[in-house]
Protein backbone atom coordinates (compact mmCIF):
# COMPACT_ATOMS: atom_id res chain seq x y z
CA UNK A 1 0.00 0.00 0.00
CA UNK A 2 1.34 3.37 -0.89
CA UNK A 3 1.98 5.59 2.10
CA UNK A 4 1.91 9.34 2.01
CA UNK A 5 4.95 11.27 3.06
CA UNK A 6 4.83 12.34 6.68
CA UNK A 7 3.98 16.00 6.10
CA UNK A 8 1.37 15.01 3.52
CA UNK A 9 -0.10 12.49 5.89
CA UNK A 10 -0.47 15.03 8.65
CA UNK A 11 -1.83 17.66 6.29
CA UNK A 12 -4.50 15.34 5.01
CA UNK A 13 -5.30 14.12 8.48
CA UNK A 14 -5.71 17.60 9.90
CA UNK A 15 -7.68 18.80 6.92
CA UNK A 16 -10.10 15.91 7.19
CA UNK A 17 -10.49 16.20 10.94
CA UNK A 18 -10.82 19.96 10.85
CA UNK A 19 -13.40 19.92 8.11
CA UNK A 20 -15.54 17.29 9.79
CA UNK A 21 -15.17 18.95 13.16
CA UNK A 22 -16.35 22.38 12.07
CA UNK A 23 -19.05 21.04 9.82
CA UNK A 24 -20.48 18.23 11.92
CA UNK A 25 -18.60 17.75 15.17
CA UNK A 26 -19.22 21.18 16.61
CA UNK A 27 -22.92 21.17 15.66
CA UNK A 28 -23.30 17.81 17.39
CA UNK A 29 -21.60 19.17 20.50
CA UNK A 30 -23.94 22.15 20.37
CA UNK A 31 -26.94 19.87 20.02
CA UNK A 32 -25.79 17.92 23.06
CA UNK A 33 -25.24 21.11 25.02
CA UNK A 34 -28.68 22.42 24.19
CA UNK A 35 -30.28 19.10 25.04
CA UNK A 36 -28.69 18.90 28.45
CA UNK A 37 -28.53 22.61 29.22
CA UNK A 38 -30.89 22.08 32.14
CA UNK A 39 -29.55 18.72 33.12
CA UNK A 40 -31.80 15.78 32.47
CA UNK A 41 -35.01 17.77 32.93
CA UNK A 42 -35.82 18.35 29.25
CA UNK A 43 -34.67 14.88 28.36
CA UNK A 44 -37.01 13.31 30.88
CA UNK A 45 -39.85 15.66 29.97
CA UNK A 46 -39.47 14.66 26.35
CA UNK A 47 -39.33 10.95 27.04
CA UNK A 48 -42.29 11.01 29.40
CA UNK A 49 -44.45 12.66 26.77
CA UNK A 50 -46.45 9.84 25.17
CA UNK A 51 -46.57 11.74 21.88
CA UNK A 52 -42.77 11.71 21.78
CA UNK A 53 -42.35 8.03 22.56
CA UNK A 54 -45.01 7.12 20.04
CA UNK A 55 -43.36 9.30 17.42
CA UNK A 56 -40.02 7.62 18.04
CA UNK A 57 -41.60 4.20 17.65
CA UNK A 58 -43.32 5.24 14.43
CA UNK A 59 -40.08 6.62 13.07
CA UNK A 60 -38.13 3.48 13.89
CA UNK A 61 -40.82 1.20 12.48
CA UNK A 62 -41.22 3.14 9.23
CA UNK A 63 -37.47 3.40 8.84
CA UNK A 64 -36.84 -0.30 9.32
CA UNK A 65 -39.44 -1.21 6.72
CA UNK A 66 -38.03 1.31 4.29
CA UNK A 67 -34.49 0.07 4.85
CA UNK A 68 -35.48 -3.55 4.29
CA UNK A 69 -37.31 -2.72 1.08
CA UNK A 70 -34.50 -0.49 -0.15
CA UNK A 71 -31.82 -3.05 0.65
CA UNK A 72 -33.56 -5.83 -1.25
CA UNK A 73 -34.23 -3.48 -4.15
CA UNK A 74 -30.74 -2.02 -3.94
CA UNK A 75 -28.79 -5.25 -3.93
CA UNK A 76 -31.01 -6.71 -6.64
CA UNK A 77 -30.67 -3.67 -8.86
CA UNK A 78 -26.93 -3.45 -8.30
CA UNK A 79 -26.45 -7.05 -9.35
CA UNK A 80 -28.61 -6.55 -12.41
CA UNK A 81 -26.85 -3.36 -13.40
CA UNK A 82 -23.31 -4.66 -13.04
CA UNK A 83 -23.52 -8.30 -14.01
CA UNK A 84 -26.21 -8.34 -16.64
CA UNK A 85 -26.96 -6.77 -19.97
CA UNK A 86 -30.41 -5.62 -20.96
CA UNK A 87 -31.92 -2.84 -23.00
CA UNK A 88 -32.44 0.40 -21.15
CA UNK A 89 -29.82 -0.43 -18.55
CA UNK A 90 -28.08 2.91 -18.63
CA UNK A 91 -31.38 4.78 -18.54
CA UNK A 92 -32.39 2.81 -15.48
CA UNK A 93 -29.07 3.53 -13.84
CA UNK A 94 -29.53 7.26 -14.30
CA UNK A 95 -33.14 7.11 -13.13
CA UNK A 96 -32.21 5.37 -9.89
CA UNK A 97 -30.33 8.44 -8.69
CA UNK A 98 -33.18 10.73 -9.62
CA UNK A 99 -35.33 10.36 -6.47
CA UNK A 100 -32.62 11.89 -4.38
CA UNK A 101 -32.80 15.07 -6.43
CA UNK A 102 -36.46 15.66 -5.75
CA UNK A 103 -37.22 18.27 -3.16
CA UNK A 104 -39.41 17.06 -0.27
CA UNK A 105 -42.20 19.44 -1.22
CA UNK A 106 -42.29 17.91 -4.68
CA UNK A 107 -42.15 14.35 -3.34
CA UNK A 108 -45.16 15.09 -1.19
CA UNK A 109 -46.98 16.66 -4.12
CA UNK A 110 -46.10 13.76 -6.44
CA UNK A 111 -47.30 11.11 -4.02
CA UNK A 112 -50.46 13.09 -3.32
CA UNK A 113 -51.18 13.45 -7.03
CA UNK A 114 -51.14 9.68 -7.42
CA UNK A 115 -52.31 8.25 -4.11
CA UNK A 116 -54.52 10.90 -2.51
CA UNK A 117 -57.84 9.44 -1.51
CA UNK A 118 -59.70 12.39 -2.93
CA UNK A 119 -58.09 13.40 -6.17
CA UNK A 120 -55.21 10.98 -6.78
CA UNK A 121 -54.79 8.90 -9.92
CA UNK A 122 -54.95 5.63 -7.98
CA UNK A 123 -55.94 6.84 -4.53
CA UNK A 124 -59.72 6.65 -4.64
CA UNK A 125 -59.66 3.19 -6.27
CA UNK A 126 -57.18 1.88 -3.73
CA UNK A 127 -59.13 3.28 -0.83
CA UNK A 128 -62.38 1.78 -2.04
CA UNK A 129 -60.56 -1.56 -1.73
CA UNK A 130 -59.41 -0.75 1.75
CA UNK A 131 -55.83 0.24 0.99
CA UNK A 132 -55.26 3.70 2.43
CA UNK A 133 -51.90 5.00 1.30
CA UNK A 134 -51.73 8.70 2.13
CA UNK A 135 -51.85 9.78 5.79
CA UNK A 136 -51.16 6.17 6.68
CA UNK A 137 -48.17 3.84 7.05
CA UNK A 138 -47.87 2.67 3.43
CA UNK A 139 -47.58 6.23 2.17
CA UNK A 140 -45.07 7.07 4.85
CA UNK A 141 -42.96 4.02 4.06
CA UNK A 142 -43.08 4.92 0.37
CA UNK A 143 -42.01 8.50 1.02
CA UNK A 144 -39.13 7.24 3.14
CA UNK A 145 -38.11 4.68 0.50
CA UNK A 146 -38.20 7.45 -2.06
CA UNK A 147 -35.65 9.62 -0.32
CA UNK A 148 -33.21 6.83 0.40
CA UNK A 149 -33.67 4.76 -2.77
CA UNK A 150 -30.27 5.08 -4.44
CA UNK A 151 -28.19 4.66 -1.31
CA UNK A 152 -27.75 0.91 -1.21
CA UNK A 153 -27.42 0.63 -4.99
CA UNK A 154 -24.70 3.27 -5.13
CA UNK A 155 -22.75 1.67 -2.33
CA UNK A 156 -22.83 -1.77 -3.89
CA UNK A 157 -22.27 -0.98 -7.59
CA UNK A 158 -18.72 0.44 -7.33
CA UNK A 159 -17.64 -2.42 -5.09
CA UNK A 160 -19.19 -5.01 -7.41
CA UNK A 161 -17.34 -3.42 -10.31
CA UNK A 162 -14.10 -3.26 -8.38
CA UNK A 163 -14.29 -6.81 -7.18
CA UNK A 164 -14.82 -8.11 -10.68
CA UNK A 165 -16.45 -11.31 -11.64
CA UNK A 166 -13.50 -13.65 -12.19
CA UNK A 167 -14.26 -15.57 -9.02
CA UNK A 168 -17.87 -15.91 -10.04
CA UNK A 169 -16.84 -17.11 -13.46
CA UNK A 170 -14.48 -19.61 -11.89
CA UNK A 171 -17.24 -20.91 -9.67
CA UNK A 172 -19.64 -21.23 -12.55
CA UNK A 173 -17.11 -23.09 -14.62
CA UNK A 174 -16.74 -25.47 -11.70
CA UNK A 175 -20.48 -26.19 -11.86
CA UNK A 176 -22.03 -23.87 -9.27
CA UNK A 177 -25.51 -22.65 -10.13
CA UNK A 178 -26.58 -19.02 -10.00
CA UNK A 179 -27.98 -19.15 -6.48
CA UNK A 180 -24.85 -20.77 -5.10
CA UNK A 181 -22.66 -18.22 -6.80
CA UNK A 182 -24.80 -15.45 -5.39
CA UNK A 183 -24.86 -16.76 -1.86
CA UNK A 184 -21.28 -17.91 -1.49
CA UNK A 185 -19.27 -15.54 -3.64
CA UNK A 186 -21.07 -12.39 -4.65
CA UNK A 187 -22.90 -11.51 -1.46
CA UNK A 188 -19.93 -12.03 0.86
CA UNK A 189 -17.83 -9.89 -1.47
CA UNK A 190 -20.22 -6.98 -1.23
CA UNK A 191 -21.06 -7.54 2.42
CA UNK A 192 -19.55 -4.35 3.76
CA UNK A 193 -20.90 -2.24 0.92
CA UNK A 194 -24.36 -3.52 1.74
CA UNK A 195 -23.82 -2.82 5.40
CA UNK A 196 -22.69 0.74 4.68
CA UNK A 197 -25.70 1.16 2.44
CA UNK A 198 -28.02 -0.11 5.16
CA UNK A 199 -26.56 2.19 7.77
CA UNK A 200 -26.79 5.19 5.44
CA UNK A 201 -30.36 4.29 4.48
CA UNK A 202 -31.33 3.91 8.11
CA UNK A 203 -29.83 7.23 9.06
CA UNK A 204 -31.50 8.96 6.13
CA UNK A 205 -34.85 7.33 6.90
CA UNK A 206 -34.73 8.28 10.57
CA UNK A 207 -34.09 11.91 9.69
CA UNK A 208 -36.60 12.37 6.90
CA UNK A 209 -38.74 15.39 7.52
CA UNK A 210 -40.13 17.36 4.57
CA UNK A 211 -41.83 14.65 2.53
CA UNK A 212 -43.26 12.95 5.61
CA UNK A 213 -44.68 16.26 6.75
CA UNK A 214 -46.95 16.23 3.74
CA UNK A 215 -47.65 12.52 3.43
CA UNK A 216 -48.21 11.64 7.08
CA UNK A 217 -50.77 14.26 7.99
CA UNK A 218 -48.78 14.87 11.17
CA UNK A 219 -51.44 13.28 13.37
CA UNK A 220 -50.22 13.67 16.94
CA UNK A 221 -49.81 10.33 18.62
CA UNK A 222 -50.56 8.44 15.43
CA UNK A 223 -48.68 9.18 12.24
CA UNK A 224 -46.42 11.88 13.62
CA UNK A 225 -42.79 10.94 13.34
CA UNK A 226 -39.90 12.00 15.55
CA UNK A 227 -38.57 14.73 13.23
CA UNK A 228 -42.09 16.14 13.02
CA UNK A 229 -42.44 16.10 16.78
CA UNK A 230 -39.13 17.96 16.98
CA UNK A 231 -40.53 20.74 14.84
CA UNK A 232 -43.77 20.81 16.77
CA UNK A 233 -42.00 21.06 20.10
CA UNK A 234 -39.80 23.83 18.80
CA UNK A 235 -42.71 25.82 17.40
CA UNK A 236 -44.56 25.47 20.67
CA UNK A 237 -41.79 26.94 22.76
CA UNK A 238 -40.47 23.68 24.15
CA UNK A 239 -37.07 24.12 22.51
CA UNK A 240 -35.00 21.94 24.78
CA UNK A 241 -37.42 19.06 24.44
CA UNK A 242 -37.14 19.44 20.68
CA UNK A 243 -33.36 19.16 20.94
CA UNK A 244 -33.71 16.15 23.22
CA UNK A 245 -35.71 14.25 20.61
CA UNK A 246 -33.26 15.25 17.87
CA UNK A 247 -30.45 14.06 20.10
CA UNK A 248 -32.12 10.67 20.47
CA UNK A 249 -32.48 10.35 16.68
CA UNK A 250 -28.84 11.16 16.15
CA UNK A 251 -27.87 8.79 18.94
CA UNK A 252 -29.72 5.89 17.30
CA UNK A 253 -27.79 6.45 14.07
CA UNK A 254 -24.52 6.79 15.88
CA UNK A 255 -25.23 3.55 17.70
CA UNK A 256 -25.79 1.72 14.41
CA UNK A 257 -22.57 3.05 12.94
CA UNK A 258 -20.74 2.15 16.13
CA UNK A 259 -22.04 -1.40 15.98
CA UNK A 260 -20.98 -1.73 12.34
CA UNK A 261 -17.61 -0.23 13.05
CA UNK A 262 -17.00 -2.61 15.93
CA UNK A 263 -18.03 -5.63 13.89
CA UNK A 264 -15.86 -4.77 10.94
CA UNK A 265 -12.36 -6.23 11.02
CA UNK A 266 -9.97 -3.33 11.31
CA UNK A 267 -8.44 -2.41 7.97
CA UNK A 268 -4.75 -3.10 8.14
CA UNK A 269 -2.59 -0.44 6.62
CA UNK A 270 0.66 -2.32 6.31
Amino acid sequence: MVELSLPAKWAVRLLAIGYVFFLVGWPVITLTQRTFSDGLASFNAALSDPDVTHALLVTVEISIWAVIINTVFGVGMALLLVRYQFPGKRVLSALIDLPMSVSPVVIGLALMLVYSGRYGWFGPTLESHGLVVIFNSPGMIMATCFVALPLVVREVVPVLEEVGDDQEQAARSLGANAVQVLRRITLPAIKWAVVYGVVLSLARSLGEFGALKIVSGNLTGQTQTAPLVVEQKYNNFAQNEAYAVAFILVAISVLCILVVSLLRPQESTS
Binding site: I107, A203, R204, V254
Partner: protein, 282 residues
Protein backbone atom coordinates in the same frame (compact mmCIF):
# COMPACT_ATOMS: atom_id res chain seq x y z
CA UNK B 1 -5.83 -14.40 -1.39
CA UNK B 2 -5.14 -13.85 -5.07
CA UNK B 3 -1.85 -13.43 -6.78
CA UNK B 4 -0.73 -10.16 -8.21
CA UNK B 5 -1.61 -11.31 -11.74
CA UNK B 6 -5.16 -12.26 -10.88
CA UNK B 7 -5.85 -9.05 -9.03
CA UNK B 8 -4.55 -7.15 -11.99
CA UNK B 9 -7.14 -8.91 -14.11
CA UNK B 10 -9.77 -8.07 -11.56
CA UNK B 11 -8.89 -4.45 -11.85
CA UNK B 12 -8.97 -4.65 -15.60
CA UNK B 13 -12.43 -6.14 -15.52
CA UNK B 14 -13.59 -3.58 -12.97
CA UNK B 15 -12.35 -0.64 -14.95
CA UNK B 16 -14.90 -0.21 -17.62
CA UNK B 17 -14.06 -3.19 -19.75
CA UNK B 18 -17.26 -5.12 -19.33
CA UNK B 19 -15.79 -8.59 -19.05
CA UNK B 20 -18.59 -11.06 -19.14
CA UNK B 21 -22.07 -9.64 -18.89
CA UNK B 22 -24.79 -12.14 -18.70
CA UNK B 23 -28.01 -11.77 -20.61
CA UNK B 24 -31.13 -12.11 -18.57
CA UNK B 25 -32.37 -15.56 -17.81
CA UNK B 26 -35.67 -16.34 -16.16
CA UNK B 27 -34.68 -15.68 -12.57
CA UNK B 28 -33.01 -12.31 -13.06
CA UNK B 29 -35.76 -11.30 -15.49
CA UNK B 30 -38.36 -11.88 -12.83
CA UNK B 31 -36.26 -9.91 -10.40
CA UNK B 32 -35.95 -7.06 -12.86
CA UNK B 33 -39.68 -7.15 -13.49
CA UNK B 34 -40.59 -6.96 -9.82
CA UNK B 35 -38.02 -4.27 -9.25
CA UNK B 36 -39.39 -2.23 -12.11
CA UNK B 37 -42.96 -2.53 -10.87
CA UNK B 38 -41.92 -1.23 -7.46
CA UNK B 39 -39.79 1.48 -9.03
CA UNK B 40 -42.70 2.58 -11.20
CA UNK B 41 -45.19 2.69 -8.36
CA UNK B 42 -42.79 4.54 -6.14
CA UNK B 43 -40.91 6.87 -8.45
CA UNK B 44 -41.84 6.79 -12.11
CA UNK B 45 -45.60 7.18 -11.83
CA UNK B 46 -45.52 9.94 -9.17
CA UNK B 47 -42.89 11.83 -11.16
CA UNK B 48 -44.97 11.33 -14.29
CA UNK B 49 -47.85 12.92 -12.40
CA UNK B 50 -45.67 15.96 -11.77
CA UNK B 51 -44.69 16.21 -15.43
CA UNK B 52 -48.31 15.74 -16.45
CA UNK B 53 -49.42 18.52 -14.11
CA UNK B 54 -46.72 20.75 -15.54
CA UNK B 55 -47.88 19.80 -19.00
CA UNK B 56 -51.25 21.36 -18.31
CA UNK B 57 -49.58 24.69 -18.87
CA UNK B 58 -48.10 23.59 -22.15
CA UNK B 59 -44.70 24.67 -23.36
CA UNK B 60 -45.50 28.26 -22.52
CA UNK B 61 -45.79 27.18 -18.90
CA UNK B 62 -42.16 26.09 -18.87
CA UNK B 63 -41.01 29.15 -20.75
CA UNK B 64 -42.89 31.49 -18.41
CA UNK B 65 -41.36 29.78 -15.42
CA UNK B 66 -37.86 30.13 -16.81
CA UNK B 67 -38.51 33.71 -17.86
CA UNK B 68 -39.72 34.68 -14.40
CA UNK B 69 -36.63 36.45 -13.03
CA UNK B 70 -37.22 35.34 -9.47
CA UNK B 71 -37.51 31.67 -10.41
CA UNK B 72 -34.52 31.94 -12.70
CA UNK B 73 -32.46 33.47 -9.91
CA UNK B 74 -33.52 30.63 -7.64
CA UNK B 75 -32.49 28.03 -10.22
CA UNK B 76 -29.13 29.71 -10.75
CA UNK B 77 -28.50 29.86 -7.02
CA UNK B 78 -29.55 26.29 -6.31
CA UNK B 79 -27.74 24.67 -9.22
CA UNK B 80 -24.67 26.87 -8.83
CA UNK B 81 -24.26 26.25 -5.14
CA UNK B 82 -24.94 22.54 -5.59
CA UNK B 83 -22.16 22.29 -8.16
CA UNK B 84 -19.79 24.18 -5.88
CA UNK B 85 -20.59 21.93 -2.95
CA UNK B 86 -20.24 18.81 -5.08
CA UNK B 87 -16.80 19.96 -6.16
CA UNK B 88 -15.85 20.57 -2.53
CA UNK B 89 -17.16 17.13 -1.64
CA UNK B 90 -15.16 15.44 -4.41
CA UNK B 91 -11.99 16.74 -2.83
CA UNK B 92 -12.87 16.57 0.85
CA UNK B 93 -14.88 13.38 0.57
CA UNK B 94 -12.02 11.51 -1.06
CA UNK B 95 -9.57 12.90 1.47
CA UNK B 96 -11.75 11.86 4.36
CA UNK B 97 -12.32 8.39 2.90
CA UNK B 98 -8.56 8.04 2.51
CA UNK B 99 -7.95 9.00 6.10
CA UNK B 100 -10.62 6.62 7.32
CA UNK B 101 -9.30 3.66 5.35
CA UNK B 102 -5.56 4.12 5.20
CA UNK B 103 -4.65 6.20 8.16
CA UNK B 104 -4.41 5.20 11.77
CA UNK B 105 -4.68 7.51 14.70
CA UNK B 106 -6.38 7.79 17.99
CA UNK B 107 -9.94 9.01 17.51
CA UNK B 108 -10.32 7.72 13.99
CA UNK B 109 -13.44 5.83 14.98
CA UNK B 110 -14.94 9.05 16.27
CA UNK B 111 -14.35 10.61 12.88
CA UNK B 112 -16.08 7.67 11.27
CA UNK B 113 -19.08 8.08 13.53
CA UNK B 114 -19.50 11.73 12.72
CA UNK B 115 -19.74 11.28 8.97
CA UNK B 116 -23.26 9.87 8.82
CA UNK B 117 -24.77 12.27 11.31
CA UNK B 118 -25.89 14.80 8.69
CA UNK B 119 -28.19 12.08 7.42
CA UNK B 120 -29.70 11.30 10.75
CA UNK B 121 -30.22 14.83 11.93
CA UNK B 122 -33.61 16.11 10.80
CA UNK B 123 -32.98 19.06 8.53
CA UNK B 124 -34.98 21.35 10.77
CA UNK B 125 -32.57 20.68 13.64
CA UNK B 126 -29.52 20.98 11.40
CA UNK B 127 -30.73 24.41 10.34
CA UNK B 128 -31.26 25.53 13.92
CA UNK B 129 -27.89 24.30 15.13
CA UNK B 130 -25.97 25.72 12.17
CA UNK B 131 -27.81 29.00 12.65
CA UNK B 132 -26.67 29.07 16.26
CA UNK B 133 -23.05 28.33 15.39
CA UNK B 134 -22.61 30.28 12.19
CA UNK B 135 -25.28 32.95 12.61
CA UNK B 136 -25.53 36.21 14.50
CA UNK B 137 -24.75 34.60 17.84
CA UNK B 138 -21.79 32.62 16.52
CA UNK B 139 -19.23 31.90 19.24
CA UNK B 140 -16.52 32.20 16.60
CA UNK B 141 -17.89 35.40 15.20
CA UNK B 142 -18.59 33.78 11.84
CA UNK B 143 -21.99 34.95 10.65
CA UNK B 144 -23.06 33.62 7.28
CA UNK B 145 -26.81 33.71 7.89
CA UNK B 146 -28.89 35.31 5.16
CA UNK B 147 -25.97 35.25 2.73
CA UNK B 148 -25.10 32.97 -0.16
CA UNK B 149 -22.39 31.33 1.92
CA UNK B 150 -25.07 30.03 4.24
CA UNK B 151 -26.44 28.04 1.33
CA UNK B 152 -22.99 26.55 0.72
CA UNK B 153 -22.69 25.70 4.40
CA UNK B 154 -26.08 24.05 4.66
CA UNK B 155 -25.52 22.04 1.48
CA UNK B 156 -22.01 21.01 2.53
CA UNK B 157 -23.47 19.75 5.77
CA UNK B 158 -26.20 17.61 4.27
CA UNK B 159 -24.06 16.15 1.49
CA UNK B 160 -20.97 15.31 3.55
CA UNK B 161 -21.57 11.57 3.81
CA UNK B 162 -22.02 10.85 0.14
CA UNK B 163 -18.65 10.70 -1.48
CA UNK B 164 -17.00 9.55 1.74
CA UNK B 165 -19.25 6.53 2.02
CA UNK B 166 -19.15 5.54 -1.64
CA UNK B 167 -15.37 5.74 -1.83
CA UNK B 168 -14.71 4.12 1.52
CA UNK B 169 -15.76 0.55 0.67
CA UNK B 170 -13.93 0.66 -2.64
CA UNK B 171 -10.73 1.93 -1.08
CA UNK B 172 -11.03 -0.73 1.57
CA UNK B 173 -11.39 -3.34 -1.14
CA UNK B 174 -8.23 -2.32 -2.95
CA UNK B 175 -5.38 -4.67 -2.47
CA UNK B 176 -1.95 -3.27 -1.98
CA UNK B 177 -0.08 -5.61 -4.26
CA UNK B 178 -0.41 -3.64 -7.45
CA UNK B 179 0.72 -0.52 -5.65
CA UNK B 180 3.63 -2.36 -4.11
CA UNK B 181 4.57 -3.83 -7.45
CA UNK B 182 4.56 -0.39 -8.99
CA UNK B 183 6.59 0.98 -6.11
CA UNK B 184 9.15 -1.76 -6.50
CA UNK B 185 9.40 -0.84 -10.16
CA UNK B 186 10.32 2.69 -9.17
CA UNK B 187 7.02 4.58 -9.45
CA UNK B 188 6.77 7.62 -7.22
CA UNK B 189 4.00 8.04 -4.70
CA UNK B 190 2.25 10.56 -6.89
CA UNK B 191 2.34 8.26 -9.88
CA UNK B 192 0.96 5.39 -7.88
CA UNK B 193 -1.82 7.54 -6.53
CA UNK B 194 -2.61 9.01 -9.89
CA UNK B 195 -2.44 5.94 -12.07
CA UNK B 196 -3.43 3.09 -9.81
CA UNK B 197 -5.43 4.24 -6.85
CA UNK B 198 -7.34 7.10 -8.42
CA UNK B 199 -8.71 5.23 -11.45
CA UNK B 200 -10.02 2.55 -9.14
CA UNK B 201 -12.00 4.99 -7.09
CA UNK B 202 -13.20 7.22 -9.92
CA UNK B 203 -16.46 5.27 -10.36
CA UNK B 204 -17.12 5.55 -6.66
CA UNK B 205 -16.35 9.25 -6.65
CA UNK B 206 -18.65 9.78 -9.61
CA UNK B 207 -21.41 7.78 -7.96
CA UNK B 208 -21.05 9.82 -4.80
CA UNK B 209 -20.86 13.08 -6.72
CA UNK B 210 -24.11 12.33 -8.54
CA UNK B 211 -25.81 11.62 -5.22
CA UNK B 212 -24.27 14.68 -3.64
CA UNK B 213 -25.49 16.95 -6.41
CA UNK B 214 -28.93 15.39 -6.39
CA UNK B 215 -29.25 15.78 -2.64
CA UNK B 216 -28.02 19.34 -2.76
CA UNK B 217 -30.55 20.59 -5.28
CA UNK B 218 -33.38 19.07 -3.30
CA UNK B 219 -32.44 20.46 0.08
CA UNK B 220 -35.06 22.53 1.84
CA UNK B 221 -35.26 22.21 5.63
CA UNK B 222 -31.84 23.39 6.76
CA UNK B 223 -31.66 25.98 4.02
CA UNK B 224 -34.74 28.01 4.79
CA UNK B 225 -33.68 29.02 8.23
CA UNK B 226 -30.05 29.77 7.49
CA UNK B 227 -30.49 31.50 4.16
CA UNK B 228 -33.38 33.80 4.97
CA UNK B 229 -34.88 33.02 1.57
CA UNK B 230 -34.32 36.51 0.25
CA UNK B 231 -35.70 36.76 -3.28
CA UNK B 232 -32.97 36.95 -5.92
CA UNK B 233 -30.27 36.57 -3.34
CA UNK B 234 -30.71 33.48 -1.19
CA UNK B 235 -33.99 31.97 -2.30
CA UNK B 236 -33.73 28.31 -3.27
CA UNK B 237 -35.85 26.53 -5.85
CA UNK B 238 -37.62 24.44 -3.22
CA UNK B 239 -38.90 27.67 -1.67
CA UNK B 240 -40.17 28.90 -5.06
CA UNK B 241 -42.02 25.61 -5.55
CA UNK B 242 -43.66 25.98 -2.16
CA UNK B 243 -44.61 29.55 -3.05
CA UNK B 244 -46.41 28.37 -6.17
CA UNK B 245 -48.21 25.62 -4.26
CA UNK B 246 -49.24 28.05 -1.55
CA UNK B 247 -50.62 30.32 -4.22
CA UNK B 248 -52.70 27.48 -5.63
CA UNK B 249 -50.63 27.40 -8.82
CA UNK B 250 -49.79 23.71 -9.03
CA UNK B 251 -48.97 23.95 -12.71
CA UNK B 252 -46.09 26.38 -12.24
CA UNK B 253 -44.89 24.45 -9.22
CA UNK B 254 -44.84 21.27 -11.28
CA UNK B 255 -43.15 23.06 -14.18
CA UNK B 256 -40.35 24.26 -11.92
CA UNK B 257 -40.04 20.80 -10.40
CA UNK B 258 -39.82 19.23 -13.87
CA UNK B 259 -37.10 21.67 -14.89
CA UNK B 260 -35.10 20.66 -11.82
CA UNK B 261 -35.64 16.98 -12.66
CA UNK B 262 -34.21 17.70 -16.08
CA UNK B 263 -31.19 19.43 -14.58
CA UNK B 264 -30.61 16.53 -12.20
CA UNK B 265 -30.81 13.98 -14.99
CA UNK B 266 -28.40 16.03 -17.05
CA UNK B 267 -25.80 16.14 -14.32
CA UNK B 268 -26.24 12.48 -13.43
CA UNK B 269 -25.79 11.43 -17.03
CA UNK B 270 -22.85 13.80 -17.48
CA UNK B 271 -21.12 12.33 -14.45
CA UNK B 272 -21.78 8.85 -15.75
CA UNK B 273 -20.26 9.66 -19.15
CA UNK B 274 -17.31 11.44 -17.53
CA UNK B 275 -16.67 8.52 -15.27
CA UNK B 276 -16.65 6.01 -18.12
CA UNK B 277 -14.25 8.17 -20.13
CA UNK B 278 -11.86 8.58 -17.22
CA UNK B 279 -12.00 4.91 -16.29
CA UNK B 280 -11.16 3.89 -19.84
CA UNK B 281 -8.22 6.23 -20.00
CA UNK B 282 -6.63 4.98 -16.78
Amino acid sequence: MSTAVLSQDTRAVGRGRPGVRWTLTKGPSLGLGIGMIWFSLLVLIPLAAIVATAGEGGWSGYVDTLKNPQSWAAIKLTVGQSLVVTAINVVMGTLIAWVLVRDRFWGKRLLDLLIDIPFAMPTVVAGLVLLGLYGPKSPLGINVSNTRNSVTLALAFVTLPFIVRTVQPVLAELEGDVEEAAASLGATRTTILRRIVLPSIIPAIAAGAALSFARAISEYGSLVLLSGSLPFRTEAVSVRVLTFIEGGDRTSAAALATIMLGVALLVIVALDVLQRRMARRG
